[in-house]
Amino acid sequence: MAVMTQAPAPGTRRQMLAEFWFYFRANRGALYGLYFFIALVLVALLAPLLAPHDPILQDRTALLTPPFWQEGGTTAYLLGTDAVGRDILSRLIFGARYSLFIGVVVVSISLIGGIVLGLVAGFFGGWIDMVIMRVMDVILAFPSLLLALVLVAVLGPGLTNAMIAIAIVSQPHFARLTRASVLGEKNREYVMAARVAGAGRMRLMFRTILPNCLAPLIVQATLSFSGAILDAAALGFLGMGAQPPTPEWGTMLAEAREFILRAWWVVTLPGLAILVTVLAINLMGDGLRDALDPKLKRS
């Protein structure tokens, strides 16, 4: 595979995008991941149009109906119903909204928080740097799911609090990455030039240095996106995330647990939705890493 030069060739934004797309496209898995992700976004946006039923409407005449291809299934409920007669397909479709929403919110909070803390720590150095990075060390010393679980116990169970908790535990990764890139960039000549030209601190941090630190952050953002979906589903599964009757995939699994030996579809399908979504995002992440970060080994 071709080797990219370390600094992006001078060129317009369009050229850089074209170059990025050239490398991203070479990775077939990443491309499939991207297609699936786009499809999922469409499903989430069009959920009310696509879903055949109301996701929380209970049909007491059709409890635990199997999927249509199995004996006893009907085409009215393509993927069957759960223990209180709700259509699983509709719940899965609406669940896509929650998972994507969780990913977007968590990544936005932790990305912004991490960038600000990392920039400040790396740019100013000294005791500010030390305090910020020690706090990040402390957060990282706890297993993330455990800390999120305890935070949710403090804040109270629910989707919003689960998202806040997951954002707090995933934010140190962004802070560390930003700080490391800032330390690498801040003594380079272009920063000196900007400083000499009279750029203020804010401008130096956000306009001069930050754009050159973005590549690893974008890769980490995709990883955190899939991680957030997994963690939120795990919290939902433990009863500390989204609360019933919310059609969140992890919560659906928690409600389905007692039927695992009687009705395979109520357990299998929500988990499959989580797996495929996370897999698609991770495939995209691998492709992004290869395309954006030529320093990492292409493999």
Partner: protein, 335 residues
């Protein structure tokens, strides 16, 4: 080397203090009065309330309370559980071997499978073996393990009837547990069938817990191997006519293992998070399930100290890995 060890230890102290502040602050930021929380549903008389406030030291300034908390911790006093009335530390020590046994089995599975798969995938880069195993590894890495556990229960316990659904050993067996490790204790007990019962209970949880570390180790081993195989010293070794087995086994693998060992160390935190889910699914009586149960029972002294103990263990393991890393890689030690 001693300087290196001391440096690492000194580095840990602020982190450890931070962890105690988090554990201490956790109970403070809970909504509601801590004494009323501990009193539970029954409530208490005003006199009793005052007495409790004084006895627990809540009437004193917060920094004094923190110092006293720290002082107690240093003397091994982690408080008492509201539910069992036992010291938290003794509950923890009683349950920890179950989690440790599970975690050791999981990491052994992950290493025994992950390292060879990663090495082979790197050696046969681009082959169907490489593509299939790395796809499977990415699926494993993306796996919601709580769902994966349920699937395995459906298949192996429900359909095939090969393994039990939950617990550590069949209720038919009862014997003293000197080590706390069910596999060893069941062997020591000499009871017929006890060991196979314990082993069959352990199989599914270990596989579930091993899944993500296995995927990470396989991917990391492959990329570390690929990097090392491109180095000059490997080319030299090849050029001077060493057998391919020796080049890979001695020259490449030993150097590739350095980042892999770090990765394995980092998996300890992942294992603890995984243990929470795995133990909940399989009703495995370890500290993961204990923490989840305590959170839902609002047994806050347990949550507080459990958090501290688990973070402490993760920190110590990471320290050991760091030291090992310095031991096998002198470049780090002398930096």
């Amino acid at each position: 080397m001693i300087k290196f060890i001391l440096g690492r230890l000194a580095y840990l102290i602020p982190t450890f203090i931070g962890i105690t502040i988090v554990a201490f602050g956790f109970v403070r930021i809970l909504p509601g009065d801590p004494v009323l929380l501990m009193a539970g549903e029954r409530g208490m008389t005003p006199e009793h309330y005052q007495d409790m406030m004084q006895r627990l030291g809540f009437d004193r300034p917060i920094w004094a309370q923190y110092l006293e908390y720290l002082w107690k911790l240093l003397h091994g006093d982690f408080g008492n559980s509201i539910v069992t009335k036992q010291p938290v530390l003794s509950d923890f020590l009683a349950l920890f071997p179950a989690t440790l046994e599970l975690a050791i089995c999981a990491i052994v599975i992950a290493m025994l499978v992950g390292v060879p798969v990663g090495v082979l995938a790197a050696l046969k880069r681009g082959s169907w073996f490489d593509q299939v195993t790395m796809t499977v590894a990415l699926i494993g890495y993306s796996m919601p393990i709580f769902w994966w556990g349920l699937l395995l229960i459906i298949l192996f316990s429900g359909v095939l009837g090969w393994t039990p659904v939950s617990g550590r050993i069949s209720l038919l067996y009862y014997f003293p547990a000197p080590t706390g490790f069910m596999l060893i204790d069941s062997l020591l007990s000499g009871q017929k069938g006890a060991f196979s019962s314990a082993a069959s209970h352990l199989v599914l949880p270990s596989i579930v817990l091993a899944t993500i570390p296995l995927a990470v180790i396989a991917r990391q081993t492959r990329s570390a191997m690929l990097e090392v195989l491109g180095e000059d010293y490997v080319r030299t070794a090849r050029a001077k006519g060493l057998s391919p087995g020796r080049v890979v086994g001695v020259h490449a693998l030993r150097n590739a293992m350095i980042p892999v060992i770090t990765t394995i160390g980092l998996q300890v935190g992942v294992l603890m998070a995984g243990a929470i889910l795995t133990e909940s699914i399989f009703s495995w009586p370890g500290i993961g399930k204990w923490m989840v149960d305590s959170i839902s029972r609002r047994d806050y002294p347990v949550v507080q100290s459990g958090l501290l103990l688990i973070a402490g263990i993760v920190m110590i393991v990471n320290l050991v890995v760091d030291l090992l890393y310095g031991l096998i890689n002198p470049r780090i030690r002398h930096r």
